[in-house]
Symmetry: none
Subunit: 293 residues, 6 copies
């Protein structure tokens, strides 16, 4: 009764679920899920999908149950999954900060470098990454799997932890010290190798990648329009490189031109006062849904 969809997507359940649905929505794909369900409804006949734990997405992309999926680079590596990494998707480009897996010890611990972990006990959710890291550093230590809340286990239960941190707040709140960084990670779109070789599937995956990136790009950009005297135009464009390649239109008053361009939202608060000082008029900033350069 149902058609077979072209692509099966693996979507990350849990902390990334809401932001993933929102990102797809902005990209033009409406994903709706009833609570407790893992089978979403997607308004594109070529797509079907499932929500599974982020930790498990790459396993099922590799096995071919999913044609492509969203997950963290960290879990692709922890699972040692043989998949194609299509593109990175840093959900919040404004901060431009990626999360990282770090090895941490109590602030007062004698451990200063990875070498000092010889013979110690380490708790982590990423047992394989941690074991490889220790091996690369020629260190023997006991690595035990942690079911979560890893940061509270030192110093009582273990000597060190390998945990994920974005802002470092949790590290500081538990009075820990970072010894080393094992891995930077962000969300990635990955594809099954056979699906990537299939032209129809690959074209669809690339379209999805472009639209997701266009939606992310628009988060940190705004549109800016203004009118300025034609005689001042060249100086303004030379002095304000943030304005990039604007669309320039003639106005009925031939001495003035209208500029329409896309700029980083972060520089607006510098640019507007400067433009006003140089005599710009009718300056407006407007929001964007998608940007593709």
């Amino acid at each position: 009764m149902e058609n077979t969809p072209l692509l099966m997507l693996g979507l990350p359940k849990g902390s990334l679920q809401d932001s993933t649905i929102k990102l797809f929505g902005k990209a033009g794909f409406n994903i709706s899920v009833s609570s407790r369900s893992y089978r979403p409804s997607i308004d594109d006949e070529e797509l079907d999908g499932r929500f599974v734990r982020a930790q498990e997405v790459s396993r099922y992309v590799e096995h071919g149950y999913f044609d492509c999926g969203l997950t963290g680079q960290d879990w692709v590596r922890e699972n040692d999954s043989d998949v194609v990494e299509v593109c990175s998707l840093v959900y919040s480009r404004a901060s431009n900060k990626r999360s990282k897996w770090i090895i941490a010890v109590p602030a007062a611990s004698p451990v200063q470098t990875v070498k000092d972990l010889e013979g110690k006990r380490i708790a982590t959710e990423v047992v394989n990454i941690t074991r490889q890291y220790l091996k690369d550093n020629g260190v023997n230590a006991e690595v035990e799997f942690s079911w979560g809340a890893t940061e509270v286990k030192v110093p009582d239960l273990v000597d060190a932890i390998v945990d994920l941190t974005e802002t470092g707040n949790s590290i500081r709140a538990n009075n820990l010290r970072i010894v080393d960084t094992l891995l930077y990670t962000n969300t990635v779109l990955i594809a099954n190798k056979a699906a990537w070789e299939n032209p129809a599937k690959r074209k669809k995956i690339e379209s999805i990648a472009m639209l997701l990136q266009a939606a992310l790009e628009a988060n940190s950009k705004v549109g800016l329009k203004l009118n300025i005297e034609k005689s001042k135009l060249n100086d303004v464009l030379a002095d304000l490189p943030a304005l990039r390649n604007p669309t320039i239109n003639r106005l009925t008053d031939e001495a003035w031109v209208a500029i329409d361009t896309i700029i980083d939202e972060k520089v607006v608060r510098e640019i507007i006062p400067e433009l006003k000082k140089r005599g710009a008029e009718g300056i407006i900033e407007y929001p964007l849904n998608k940007v593709v350069f």
Copy 2:
């Protein structure tokens, strides 16, 4: 102290209240209500309004207490109200699905067609619509008024129900089977007949109708701008009819033009990859508040 407003609006209380306030807001009329109040404040001196149950709006429009009002077509018909139907307002054009009143029986019931309801007992919130439907089909059955939660009354309390359904979820959840559809319904703007003959009132009602429709239209449309080589312009416009009649501006680089147009949000995910493939640059999508073609 207060002026007499030109128009008195009847607004639907309950499940439609929030979406109605939002729609009027997008159309340019800010309606504010304190909780538990039924007297909203509207920022247009020509308008006053009241929130009443959707079931009762048409009654008070007919009697002239309201000059116009928003309600469902179903309740206009159930009340047999003698009013002018100004326009339909399908709140969610994306789905394009209207609600419908259906007659349903338990999945295992022997009833297969309306004829099989002869002598049966039927519960519904729309007694008049149901009686007329049975009469039209030459069926004698007992119709009783239901205070709500009608769908749980079969099979214990009655033999069949006439109930409203949008998605059919409630029908399935209660293990019912639809026998027939009595009526499709959506929200309508209705007017009192005398008010409609009064030129000043009619002009105002028509303005409101146009603005509500413009706001609804914008829900499914977006603005799209892009730059493309002038030499490719004709082919693009010919191959992508969704771009419709775009505004085309010359740029400082004479070999390129800037396109600005309005398209269905649903086709953006097809159009952007295609435009990119044909060499378009600086593609942006921006949101709209109102659209009037």
Copy 3:
């Protein structure tokens, strides 16, 4: 470790806190506060700030702890603070209603005018403003400070109250009658006198003022685009002064032009029906983030 910021901002805690954070965000400054904290984090190295009660901002701006601050005109006057009023910031320009301090009595009270308050007892949060008002009217009355919930104190505890009201709802709900209005008030940006004489600080304060006003201005403005026959252009512009100085572009169909302009959101509901009547096509309204004329 931290640089000394150029400017210290006084921000109003309490009912204005969320809307102030939102306004600064729209102006381009992201203020984040952990709950219960009064030290916000601001993403501009030149700025630091503190949240204090709106009642106290002007006191600390005058004393020089803050270089500038946001508060109500009422509290500047109640505190009799010697500060520079940089600009008004009416958060909700749409309603254009400012709050006011009124003197109210029970609906059934014999008090009709301020003169009838001779010898009575009055509770209020603004003792100084109230005393000055009574003095200006030659009335002797006992004014007592109220910790809040002033409106429920009459008639049991006092004879009259001086209280803040925006919509009058609370006045009506407590069955009170307004005798007189003492003061209209809205939010203002104020500066310390010495800071205002410091060129670097003054330039920064003026930038902030411009961007806050640009963000507020955008709340009540929208972008409007439309196509119209060139032959009708002059009449339309002459008859609809709200369209102001539009950007006018030629279209591929030489008989038509495209208009792009900024107008008050309040007039859109008048303008669109009029434009449609005059043959305009492709009318769209789009949202704005900032507007600087």
Copy 4:
């Protein structure tokens, strides 16, 4: 697969639902309902039940779908149902206040007595009770069915309302005046006439009635224990009839006795100070789950 239960109970959905489930729980019957369901699960194999609107319970008890049910006396009368009223169950005996249906008009209305309603329009949820009341008073008036929120309909939509009130708060909040009381009402346990004649069913209904009443009784009763000199015992029992038939135990100190009894919670605040004055010691009050005299 399921046995046919001995009794089918009609339970009131809506505002009474939670307190009904709690009362049955205290009586020893655990009723669990999944949200949105009307088929509860009851931990007694002899019982099955359904939640329906309180307005409809008596109708279905009369028809025999339910053997017994809980509903308001008002709805039994509005529906003119021919059923057995087994016992009253005043859920909150502490206040001893029953709800009442009153006729109300705007505070400023000229209507002073029921006679002044001649020719007026009245909105109510209890059309039959209202019509009978008017007829009994020889008044002709138009009675229209109201879907709810009746109290906001005067004076714009109707001249008077007949509405339910417990505390009168809503009446005052809407600035209404009560003209007359039509009916006092409380919850009742009712039985189908045939079920009542069936000995097995009647025995079960009487057990349920006893346990519900025992649980309600315990709401307003507490246990009281105290020690008192034997010589004062007779005077205390004579002067404090509220102590009723206490259990009296000898203590190791032969000059004292221990008293254990059940009293109205309402009189505890009178009794304890009196007992203390007469030299009682070790006075304790303890809570009860059920009381059967």
Copy 5:
């Protein structure tokens, strides 16, 4: 229409409101308030009451609007109210900790004793208490009224604060150091002096005091029953003084006795294992509502 009640109670609005209503309920007086109302309904015809800010209760008790009231000792003293303090009511006897007003400075401040505050600026909600304290210590300092959130005002806005603390958490969270304690405080029942001289009113106030204290006492006590061999009774009572004066009953088995007594909840976890070891059987602990020794 309403009777004049014997006593008018002043009840504390705000943070103490819910616990006060609960305490009166346990004492036998049901107080109900609709949200936003300050006129409660009390189920005792001799009582009426009002909820006002705790800071203002003693003022209106002194003036005679209230006959008695609940408030903090601190506010009685801050207001310098001439009232009778009937009894203390430490709401949480388990912790036995009273709140205190302390003077605090930043952890790094040079201020070590009250003497070091000479010439400093201090913010507080209790201006009078603070001024008296400074005068008693021969210190001149500027005391300013704080509208709240006092703890965040140092060191930026003032040099020191006088603030209320129960656990010291807020002091620590703001990195402050306590210099001195000005005042310990707990809730008190206070009476108007004239009311206290009126025998009928005084008797009622004393009854209320006894019942409130009995309810508080029961929070930390439980009932304990057990059976034990008569031959072991004396040793058990000698070794376990916590059992106090139990009621001892003979059982049908003459070799055993039943004990019923009241003990501190805190010692139950020591007593039960000890009793079990000594051969006690049928040990049960039951809850209490009120205890008067």
Copy 6:
């Protein structure tokens, strides 16, 4: 500054956390946790504790970091921990249902017995228990660790799952069929082997066990008192064995006796009507906090 506590407790974080805190509270130990903390505060100087994931409690009890702990029997076995099982604690004795780990397949799967799993893929959170079970049955199958939401993985991702179920609701909701039960489980109190050999620690662990069991026992028991004619006593006790060994007191009326006993709450609804029929008077049921037989 802090004393070393006698015992360190391991407490289960997550779904069992709130009910564990409540159970300890009823047993007489108040455990308070600030949000996000894993170090609770316990009002017993001999105790300290930590909240860790239930899956990890037995590992750290075995290693000696905890002296005793609460966890599920399933995790003791999955971790193959060498600890002492002190007692079972079925949190909800009323239902008397323990949770169980079952192996389930899609309703339509050809798998009928464990033998049919040969060569299949199975997802589970209990990899060791599952591997042992398969080995015991001579079956070779691939077992993969599941991070959660295991029940939605069949049939798409794996052939079968081993998952925990209490009511079977989730099994039915996902249209699965149970093939076999691997393990019944409930909460247990476990002790470290060395701690159990230490007399002081063992005594404390046994006290905690007794008090936790006493609190659990009281959940399903109530106190029952009644008066009955002495002549009927023997028959009543013979016919109603649920009354067990009651305390029987003589009353002032020598023909009657007072009975006080503890019975299962479940039988109250049968016993009370029966007692009433036999002439019992003054029947009351009262609640219990703890019961030790």
